[in-house]
């Protein structure tokens, strides 16, 4: 469709909804909105309505609304600190997958990440599913990359020595699946049992993934706690589960091994352009000269694109909250499961009850528009909503065994699809934006795609013979048998000292994490690598020990140890520090 055609459609939507004072511009199938609306809800509504129009590549929503939070851009360091062929902005699973893929070639790559560790955004707070693609709209970019990416996980996980399981997913149809339609129950049952499963199977065939019908008997036999109201199910056996942050850290470590430089705690403040091409990336830790920038900045992808003058989308954050349960319930279900409801909400697979590689069952995630990009709070309503949504699947689940909950923020664009392409405005600026679910599953395929884009854009990529695809296995004490444990402790007695009793993490593993290729220098970074503090006591016992070891190994004074980077100091000082000079602690 021509830009003129798009403009007419956009105008129609705006008129229909009676929005006023909105200035619309269309360029290269991207819609730019300027003006004012009366609330955040309007801002989202108008963006989403326009985003749903066919053939639109992007919506740049610059509409102002009351209460808008404007972030001040930090002052950068304009002094040159280095140069690279490619700079990747963002150390989530997407950025790290790209980094690891590029490390196969003879190019200098620097990845910059604003947090103190990789995997700190949506990557660490999703439901860990390597989706098969069955839940995605057929023909979207995310559907294609999801299907391709999820098949790549088996080998990747082996190379990187990361636990990965094709756990399978059950999409369950119950007597309530069609309750929204308000049709007679017998008809709803018939459709749920005899029609929908076949539609799902056909769809699986169409996109190239295996899907199996599961009848009620088989379902009840294999998953004995599933609701009595279940009628049938379809299974997507290639669904996988992986620990998303562990996987991302492994990608980063392997990339480091193969020459990629990681700059953590480094925020990008500007992308400079010369002769319509990328010139440099200005960060809080110096300026990196480069011809190619990969914008994998997640929630901040629109702001980074803006810096380069290449903005073609607006990110509207969507929160997803998840509950995590005690390991002792690990065998309650064998496969992940979701309840199919028809019709379902737009752009939301509905969440479900998920298995993890560490035996903690997860319930969630929810979905809600969220005006603040960093608002990872979980509200009482979120928790209630989760219980309400998934209890119908497993009515007797012991819900009091929650060990923690968290929220991640989806970096969605208004077109609700991945936005992966070279900028038409600025040469060398590659958008990898709008990565929301199934971003984890798609990550390996996204990395492949980005490499192709870079080649098309003129970057010479020659294979590096010395590329080592394998990452050494980290020592995980609890997974070893007794003989191996004994040998390990003989070699290094620190593996005989258990620091985190809930997860059986030894001092040796904590020291390993601190001195790993991507050193863990905060308590949460150690937690993500070792699981110390992830058990039922949530760090109550091991925190003082972890802090002591971290201080000893790094020389950081105990009172300066952080939970997760700048501003997260765990303590205010030594005891007596608040008593003034009279009591100096002696």
């Amino acid at each position: 469709m021509s830009d003129g055609g798009i403009l007419r459609k956009v105008d129609k939507v705006i008129r229909k909804k009676r929005f006023e004072n909105i200035d619309v511009k269309v360029e290269d199938s991207v819609v730019y909105l300027n003006g004012k609306v009366s609330s955040w809800d309007d801002f989202v509504e108008i963006g989403s309505l326009i985003g749903a129009i066919k053939n639109i590549r992007g919506v740049v929503n610059r509409l102002e609304y009351p209460g808008e939070i404007r972030r001040e851009r930090k002052k950068g360091n304009r002094e040159k600190s280095g140069e690279a062929d490619v700079v990747i902005i963002g150390g989530g699973v997407t950025g790290c997958s790209i980094a690891r893929e590029l490390s196969k070639y003879k190019v200098k790559v620097i990845l910059v990440e604003k947090e103190d560790d990789v995997a700190c955004g949506a990557t660490k707070a999703n439901n860990a599913m390597v989706h098969s693609g069955i839940g995605e709209k057929v023909g979207t970019l995310k559907q294609k990359l999801c299907v391709k990416g999820h098949f790549m996980y088996g080998e990747l996980a082996k190379e990187l020595n990361v636990p990965f399981k094709r756990c399978g997913m059950l999409i369950i149809l119950t007597k309530d699946s069609l309750s929204k339609l308000k049709i007679p129950q017998f008809l709803a049952n018939f459709i749920a049992k005899r029609i929908i499963p076949f539609i799902v199977v056909r769809r699986g065939k169409k996109i190239g993934i295996p899907i199996k019908l599961v009848d009620r008997e088989e379902l009840m036999e294999k998953e004995r706690y599933v609701t009595e109201r279940a009628l049938a199910a379809v299974s997507s056996p290639s669904y996988g589960v992986i620990c998303p942050y562990f996987f991302t850290i492994a990608l980063a470590e392997n990339a480091t091994d193969n020459g990629v430089e990681f700059m953590l705690d480094t925020e990008v403040v500007d992308v400079t352009v010369e002769n319509d091409g990328v010139k440099s990336v200005v960060t809080t830790k110096g300026t990196i000269d480069t011809r190619f920038v990969i914008n994998a900045a997640g929630l901040y992808a629109d702001e980074v694109a803006e810096m380069a003058g290449a903005r073609e989308y607006t990110i509207h954050p969507k929160k997803g909250a998840t509950l995590l349960f005690d390991k002792e319930l690990g065998n309650y279900i064998n496969r992940s499961m979701s309840l199919l409801r028809f019709p379902r909400a737009e752009h939301y697979k509905g969440g479900g009850i998920m298995v993890t590689v560490d035996s903690n069952i997860q319930w969630g995630p929810t979905i809600a528009e969220c005006p603040e990009k960093e608002d990872t709070s979980v509200t009482a309503e979120d928790i209630e909503k989760i219980f309400e949504s998934y209890t119908p699947l497993l009515p007797d689940f012991p819900k009091k065994s929650v060990i923690t909950y968290f929220a991640g923020i989806r970096a969605s664009t208004f077109t609700e699809d991945f936005f992966i392409e070279a900028s038409k405005k600025v040469k060398g600026f590659i958008h990898v934006a709008g990565i929301q679910s199934p971003g984890l599953a798609a990550a390996p395929a996204v990395a492949d795609m980005v490499v192709d884009i870079l080649k098309n854009e003129g970057l010479t990529l020659k294979q590096r013979e010395s590329f080592n695809p394998y990452r050494d296995k980290t020592t995980i004490f609890r997974d070893l048998d007794i003989k191996e444990k004994k040998r390990l402790i003989e070699k290094n007695p620190r593996y005989g000292k258990i620091m985190c009793r809930c997860e059986q993490v030894t001092e040796g593993e904590i020291v390993d994490a601190i001195h790993s290729k991507l050193p863990a220098l905060s308590v949460d970074a150690i937690k993500r690598r070792t699981r110390a503090g992830m058990g039922r006591c949530q760090g109550g016992f091991c925190l003082p020990h972890v802090v002591e070891i971290l201080s000893r190994e790094t020389g950081i004074p105990i009172e300066k140890i952080q939970k997760n980077g700048k501003g997260s100091n765990l303590f205010v000082g030594k005891a007596k520090c608040l008593l003034g000079d009279k009591h100096d602690g002696n």
């Binding site: 990872t376 501003g567 007596k576």
Partner: protein, 428 residues
């Protein structure tokens, strides 16, 4: 047939009569008593013996056992010294990995690697852990500055680090009350203690000595409804709750602070008990025991907070000695397990320990129980069938304060039915 058995010859194999797991007050007292008549190994995962007591530097221990007010370290040191003088084999920084029904224990430490202990009897005394913020579903973010009361106590008293400047305390359990005072003494500011229940969770003496004496307000029927702060706590929202403990809209108040401390209950640490397959009591979260503290597996005993959470360490020491004594006795002669009288929690009673009475060795048996709601002038009635065998008028009973009733051997011998019912009737 190799496989798992194969592993054993590579480990450091030991044999003993009694193995005590956990070197807190319960484990120390049990080990000491058992060592009078048996060979004992004591395993402790921490660096020091004493469990939680070394960090409890306030007074209030030993009133019953030593007839004087001691601090936690003083109380535990008495037992530690005695243990050190005895021939008990003590292994600290040693964590038990697994135990099977044949009483084979696999443990690990730095010096010996993997240890295998074949023991004749076991005393479980792993204590308890604190309920966390997530278990009571406090909404909000997950910043630095949210601690359980016990962790904050350890940080200050053992590690010498100050966890915050301005505190809000959620829950009025004893450790929370003690810490409210401690924060003040350390120069901190305590905005208040918030308790979701209409009555305090801790002992009255702690309310008086730790809050009233320091002008720290206690807000009953209040809870925290939000934790705010991205990297470090910036404040919390508190609100009043209705009878069903739901926050009341319109009563929210935001309190700027940098630290939220939770004293919202303790949970017996029974991962090992569950792994062995002991029968558990859903009300205490501990293993079911008889009056000799023997669990559902013969020769495996349990005592202290692993069985149910106690108010006073003095009570722990008493039952621990019973456990230790009978563990040693079991090694020599086995214990009578035939007769089985069930104790039943009746009106206004949350639970009763021991859950069974089985033997005839003890001259008297103490029943420990908690009431569900506070009553003045109520009567404790213990009955067997139609017959009341014990009756006592109580000035006041409340959930945080454990009730004890001692039944003599004569009374017990006269029982005709196999069920003992405990009721707390009447009162206001």
């Amino acid at each position: 047939m190799w496989g798992k058995q194969n592993a054993y010859w590579v480990t450091n194999m030991m044999e003993t009569d009694v193995t005590v797991i956990g070197g807190g007050p319960a484990g120390l007292a049990a080990a000491l008593k058992a060592s009078e008549n048996a060979q004992v190994i004591l395993l402790e995962r921490g660096r020091e013996l004493g469990g939680i007591l070394p960090q409890c530097i306030h007074q209030g221990f030993g009133n019953f056992v030593f007839k004087k007010m001691l601090t936690g370290p003083e109380f535990s040191q008495y037992f530690i010294d005695k243990v050190r003088q005895s021939d008990i084999v003590v292994k600290t920084e040693t964590t038990v990995l697994e135990i099977d029904k044949n009483k084979r224990i696999i443990a690990t430490n730095s010096a010996e690697g993997i240890l295998e202990i074949q023991t004749k009897a076991i005393v479980l005394s792993m204590g308890c852990r604190e309920r966390t913020r997530s278990q009571i579903l406090v909404p909000g973010t997950r910043p630095a500055g949210v601690y359980t009361a016990g962790t904050s106590q350890r940080l200050i008293n053992i590690d010498g680090i100050m966890p915050g400047k301005k505190f809000v305390i959620l829950g009025s359990g004893d450790v929370g009350l003690i810490m409210a005072r401690r924060f003040i003494l350390e120069g901190g500011e305590v905005e208040g203690v918030y308790e979701i229940m209409p009555q305090p969770g801790g002992l009255t003496r702690n309310i008086v000595q730790c809050l009233d004496d320091y002008n720290i307000p206690l807000f009953l029927s209040h809870t925290v409804t939000d934790i705010v702060g991205r990297k470090r706590v910036e404040g919390v929202t508190v609100a009043k709750v209705d009878e069903s403990m739901k926050p009341l809209v319109g009563t929210e108040r935001f309190i700027p602070c940098d630290c939220l401390v939770l004293a919202v209950g303790l949970i017996p640490e029974n991962e090992l008990s569950k792994q062995i397959g002991l029968d558990m009591d859903g009300r205490t979260d501990g293993p079911v025991v008889d009056e000799r503290m023997e669990t559902s597996v013969s020769g495996i005993f349990a005592c202290g907070n692993v069985v149910h959470v106690h108010d006073l360490v003095d009570d722990v020491a008493v039952v621990a000695e019973i456990a230790g004594e009978h563990a040693a006795k079991y090694v020599r002669e086995n214990l009578e397990r035939r007769g089985k009288i069930r104790t039943v929690a009746g009106e206004n009673v949350g639970y009763v320990v021991p859950q069974f009475l089985r033997g005839k060795e003890l001259d008297s048996v103490t029943l420990y129980f908690r009431v569900l709601s506070e009553k003045r002038g109520a009567t404790v009635i213990i009955s067997c069938g139609e017959k009341t065998i014990f009756e006592r008028k109580e000035k006041i009973v409340k959930p945080p304060e454990m009730v004890k009733v001692i039944l003599s051997r004569e009374v017990l011998n006269a029982l005709v039915q196999n069920e003992l019912r405990v009721d707390v009737r009447g009162g206001k």
